[in-house]
Amino acid sequence: MTEEFSVVGKRITQVDAVAKATGAARYTVDLKLPGMLIGRVLHSPYPHATIKKIDRSKAEKLPGVEAVITVDDTPKILWTRSFRDLPMTPSGSIQHADEYILADKARYVGDPIAAVAAVDEKTADEALDLIEVEYEELPFVLDPWKAMKPGASLVHDYAENNIAVHLTPPPFLVKGDVEKGFAESDVVVEENFFASKQVGAHLETAACVASIDANGKITCYSPCQLAHPFRRELGKMFNKPVGKINVISPFVGGSFGIRLSCHNEPICIALAMKAAKPVKLVYTKEEDFTCIDTRTPHYFTVKMGFKKDGTLNAFTVHTTTWAGGYLSRAQLAGGITLLWALGHYRCPNTNGACDVVYTNTTLSGAMRGFGNPAVSWATEQVMDIAAEKLGMDPLELRLKNIKYAGEPSNMGLPTESSFEEECIRVGAERIGWEEKRGKKREGTVRRGVGMAAMMHCSGAHPLLLEHSGAIIKLNEDGSASLIVNPGSPGTHIWGTLSQIAAEELGISAEDINIVTGSTDATMFDLGSHASRSTYVTGNAVLMAAREAKGQLLERAAKKLGVSPDELDIKNRLVFVKRDPKKSISVAELAFDAIYNFKGECQTISGKCSFESRWNSPPTAAYFAEVEVDTETGEVKVIKFISSQDCGTAINPMTVEGQCEGGIQQGIGYGLTEDYVINKDTGVVESDNFTTYKMPGTLDMPETEIIIINKPDPKGPFGAKGVAEPGLVGIAPAIANAIYDAVGVRINDLPVTPEKVLAALKAKSAWKD
């Protein structure tokens, strides 16, 4: 495992931590450019309305206002937040581009209608109030069921019955004959579930600083997670060649997938163009809750059929995906639920479908787990329901049906490694499954334990482009610059990549300088999503380091009079394996290569453009112990165990941090985060932390993170993804624990005390 590594597997502190701990770290919101103006956006107060007239004259006359824009001030080119009209998929674009930079028609409360740039925040704020917009309100639909009714008002004219698209699973998941499979099954469970919206709630709100130079080149400071694809999208939106755009990524105050999309960046750039000055546009918390992506909500009908020995025999999922006023990432989020669900367990008969439905509500995008937390909310509860009907321990039912290495993964590729069984067994032992599960419960306050399991992905091959690049070069003192652009959402990816590079080069992680954050300076990297950075960018880094290592060994071989394959590098020394005292330092080699007067000048370096043709699925199991107060319906999570098969943990401290953070988000998703849209007005009522409650210190359970730490054959040093697995199965584990405690099951997120109490009363009323 990782005992043989020098740097990989170590709990190394992060290079950016000092800047963050001292206030020196600059995020997009902290940036200031000379002559910079402040931007603000005017949003629609109506869920659906024609814009009849916009009178900006008063705003423009206010002293200090330097630009007021509407859609007519932008190149009216349709785009989509998911960048799907880029060649992101092997099969080409399949998503409709349906939004302009500023709306031509209001399609949700919050839709950006106009924007201003002014000398300071006070003036920009005043200017917003001076823009007069004449709206004609239109009928609107606020949920997919109303939206799909014949005769419902259309959000977009092209989408009949507001169905943007009807999706089916990829061919490898349309298997067998589901009708026959269900008929053959001894136990069939069919249930409906609702997985709600969740707000990313990254503490740094959506932000952008944009400036246009004298040559018309755009510099865009943005926290967007996918800098290179974002640059391409900007090029399309603004009719500019990509080379005339530089996306710079400062420190980012959290992303969680919400920032896969750009949000107010195009507006900021449009303002900078109109004003011919740099502009900074930062959203308020209320705007973040209502005008950018949230996690996509879905309704699921899940049907699973089992043989009496617990073998899963037939499985269908129907997903109704609740998109907002524009598609954003709802389409892919919906379609992929079919893969997460149908591709997790072994099953000979599978099929499904997904309808993605427009509504006049806030945008549904990508958030950590991208549909897996949502559909697992459904499927992992159905597993428990079936286990009860089968008279089986839910643990045994999972173990009966999980996949192993070699079997087709949820992406249809051979599973490179899977230690899901270990995850389940070790987690069960640590929570005390045998002692605590299924016991007779008494008293007002009752405890229970529950679990869930999952399979995810390391990157999105073969569905989406998987391409990352890395350059590494040695400085003359033996330190190295690692030029990469994975983003910096706070996941410690720079540290992980440094450890990978340092391990390969035989130097120390602190010898690596990360050079990053500029699309001009870095090779293409898709960016951070789908838990891909360690696995894909990590492999690019590994191979770039390997190339540099080769050059070091070549040069050392000449100096030491041996052949390169007799050498290795450790602790900054290149040494002869059979005679380690014969050595030369990396620093000396690097210096000699640069300040070389023998005609052998070289910057020792390596470069790799890597396309991942594999996708090693991480797996995990989650165990919750809860305490339910049967008089108040309150659910307290006492202990939570996250048991992770993420291959080799390059930095166990980082992996733990991801999983501990995931528990906060999972408990919020499962129990407390309720996104409330007013049914009469379409206004989001939960628009700040006062109204939308996410867990604080006092709401967290005791946690334990188990890292199985068995290497994957394809990941760099055996690593797989872990960022999203840190969250996926938390909510259903809690739901299953509640059932164990008090015998009620809530199918709609979040599981509030009100719902639990109502279910308990219904249960006892039925019994009486």
């Binding site: 930062v282 108040t632 309150e634 407390t672 409650k693 996410m694 867990p695 006092l698 109502a758």
Partner: protein
């Protein structure tokens, strides 16, 4: 970013008299600033937009917590945090300590004053709920002089008090608790740092197994904090058995007029009044007898 506040004229009187004068002059166009937690947050959301802000922060001698045989009093600038940390409040006015402790944010408690919290007049106020249970009185200074009213007479509706233009609450006074008095405070929230869905405060004085005095106070289930007077009556004339406690809780639930909002529902709130009153009465009894 955060929205800039709209401009206002700002005053920093150094005496109560001066503060009363300025507030009186500007009436409803003026707002008083103490901790500012609620004022600034609501100004930012444009829920209130005063043209004049009158800070009492520079008036000396208002942050005291004072205790003697007559009881406890604290001034307009006594912070919620200082009340939480006060040993006397903890020992003798437990309900108030529990209410203050269950406000989660240390920063909010450090900035926020108990009097300021009262003057916001939200029916979900933990402090108000506790002060009703403790029989608090408020001293009010105004253009017409000074008056003292029971805290229960202070609230008129949501965010509405009886304060006339120019009036300032300068002090809260609590009577010394009678022997064999016990109290308890409960609140239900979504996460720990949240405004109550329901809050309940009970204070009982027990002599010879009979309840002599009872205050059963319900927060968040009416336009103001209310007392469940029928329930109190039932408790006072009872023998304090569990069955009676259950009936008392039921009566209290009947007094509640909750709404459904984003925090909770009518049905749940009403049911929780019953549950929390039962729990609070039981706990208060145990403490009273101790």
């Amino acid at each position: 970013m955060t929205r800039p506040l709209k401009p206002f004229d700002y005053f920093e009187p150094t005496t109560i008299k001066e503060a009363v004068q300025i507030l009186g002059r500007y009436g409803t166009k003026a707002k008083l600033l103490a901790g500012g937690v609620d004022l600034v947050a609501r100004m930012r959301r444009r829920q209130i937009q005063p043209q004049y802000v009158v800070s009492i922060l520079r008036i000396p001698g208002l942050d005291y917590i004072h205790s003697d045989e007559a009881g406890l009093s604290f001034g307009a600038l006594a912070t919620i945090r200082s009340i939480e940390l006060s040993p006397i409040v903890k020992n003798d006015y437990t309900v108030l300590n529990e209410a203050a402790s269950q406000i989660a944010s240390v920063q909010v408690k450090t900035m926020g004053t108990a009097v300021g919290n009262l003057c916001v007049a939200t029916p979900a106020s933990d402090i108000a709920t506790a002060l009703y249970a403790l029989g608090a009185k408020l001293r009010i200074a105004g253009p017409a002089g000074e008056r003292t009213i029971p805290v229960e007479d202070f609230f008129v509706g949501v965010n509405q008090t009886v304060l006339e233009p120019g009036e300032i609450v300068t002090e809260v006074m609590l009577p010394s608790p009678a022997p064999q008095t016990g109290g308890a405070f409960f609140k239900l929230v979504r996460t720990a740092a949240d405004i109550a869905k329901v809050n309940v405060a009970v204070s009982l004085t027990v002599t010879d197994n009979t309840c002599r005095e009872a205050r059963i106070v319900l927060g968040s289930v009416a336009p103001t904090v209310i007392r469940a007077t029928q329930a109190e009556e039932a408790l006072r004339s009872s023998t304090l058995e569990p069955k009676v406690v259950e009936e008392v809780a039921q009566l209290a639930a009947g007094k509640a007029k909750p709404i459904t909002d984003l925090r909770s529902t009518i049905e749940y709130r009403r049911e929780m009044v019953r549950v929390l009153v039962r729990r609070a009465v039981k706990k208060a009894l145990t403490r009273a007898k101790a």
